[in-house]
């Protein structure tokens, strides 16, 4: 049986950039015990001799000619921006003060 602790879920939530309340963390940890048991069944048949499939189509790289085509205008590209300044996306501070 696999289980996740409240702290495990907190770490994953941090990696996934989702703030979670104490209640959410505890509930999700409980749910995951059941869910992980169910999904872990894949290990029963996934032998070393079985190849992995990541995609239904046998795809190779798809290229297009490197030519300039019309794209969104700056106004269109910024039309959904939560905040903008001087034709740019305005974002919160990304780097520290130093």
């Amino acid at each position: 049986m696999t289980s996740l602790s409240r702290d495990d879920v907190a770490k994953l939530a941090g990696l996934a950039r989702i703030e979670m309340s104490e209640e959410e963390l505890v509930n999700m940890a409980n749910e995951f015990t059941v869910i992980l048991d169910a999904v872990a069944r894949v290990q029963e048949v996934a032998g070393a001799d079985v190849e992995a499939t990541s995609h239904p189509l046998p795809l190779r790289n798809i290229f297009r000619p490197d030519v300039v085509v019309p794209s969104l205008t700056p106004e269109e590209a910024l039309s959904g921006a939560p905040a903008q300044e001087e034709q740019r996306f305005r974002v919160p501070q990304i780097l520290g003060e130093e």
Binding site: I18, V34, P82, P92, I94
Partner: protein
Amino acid sequence: MIRSNATEMAAKLATGEITSVALTQAHLDRISAVDADVHAFLHIDTEGALAQAAAIDAKRAKGEKLSPLAGVPLALKDVMAQKGIPTTCGSKILEGWRPPYDSTVVANLKKNDIVILGKTNMDEFAMGSSTENSAYGPTHNPWDLSRIPGGSGGGSSAALAAFEAPLAIGTDTGGSIRQPAAVTGTVGVKPTYGGVSRYGLVAFSSSLDQAGPCARTVLDAALLHEAISGHDPKDATSINAPVPQVVNAAKSGDVKGMKIGVVKELNGDGYQAGVRARFEESLELLAKAGAEIVEVSAPNFEYALAAYYLIAPSECSSNLARFDAMRYGLRVGDVDGASAESVMNLTREVGFGKEVKRRIILGTYALSSGYYDAYYGSAQKVRTLITQDFIRAFEKADVLVSPTCPTTAFKIGEKANDPLAMYLNDIATIPVNMAGIGGMSLPSGLADEDGLPVGFQIMSPVMKDERMYLVGAALEAALLSKWGAPLLDKAPIMGGAR
């Protein structure tokens, strides 16, 4: 006018018996009358739809040659980008967002002069089987308003069953077109993966997602299928090959000599008695129509659900990283001195619902170092085994069939607190997505015990989508002559209460 099917509407438009403006207005009136109860729509574009209809009427008046569905209205799942029209994916994180571009599906609809009425409700980011995960409240099944219309595309299927639209677009990652079709008594088709462009379809699980047609008849679905299909250079996974001849197949419905394979593992225990009875009856009708029924086995399908709930969350945890509060959508906590990371954390806490968070966390776990091989890696191997099961089965049969879902529509709220019970709903639809093949659900009647619709699923090999239309059309014709009228005529569509 709204009770006929899309093919009949198109014929009346072509002869000038009705105009697209009148037809569109009739549907808008129907939406006004019933959608407070059904809640199929998240946004209704009255002005845009009527303007589009008027332009099509003008083209027709000038004698321009129009496409087969020109002037017929359609409901669009809110996961497809439509320029200037709110596109939420049923999520608070995209509330108020208006895409600056059209998805290829929308571009194809417009090119074919199909009138877009509005955007339909769905489980948030298409994660769910009931539309209960929509941030804007659930959609109600027109057969019984206390029941789910399926999901994630429950808005599209309910709009069809409530006669709010004769055509709709859905997307299917693990059954989100077929399961809603099954529980509402409508037709839904998941084309071969790559058959319809994913450009502008907001991604949930990129290797599984596929847009497709929803309608009230097999031929209507085929006409819409053809209208939205084709190679698209904007989608690198779009198949560059001729579109399968689905319309011809739907018109023919000739199954003489075809081999229909019953998948042994997708029946029996866990399937409701009424679901099994309707399935057996449909098989008899297909045999009478000249098909040969054979049994096939797909031993690895029992692992499909487990593999799906690793692959889809893994891909979703990566795809939904784009909702970072920086370029579009919701932004929360952007106070003086707040870091970008804290704004992302707060925005995603407020913007995502419970099921979306659950899947992002599960995917993050399955992809994390130390667990990758045991979970995501093993799930990818199961995917290979399922694909091999299909290849072997298609050596014995031209198409495969099963019930679409193990049960009829359940009550709203019944499974909301049990994610695993909810996931089990998709047990028969998920293998199709894993292998990227085609799948259709069409109504096979009502379950005796509850009087609710039952779906019949047909699966066809990659890019042989025409085969499921042949079988679907044959079964539909046989059932229609048995019933004497379309199944939806029995629905208590608001007039008489159920």
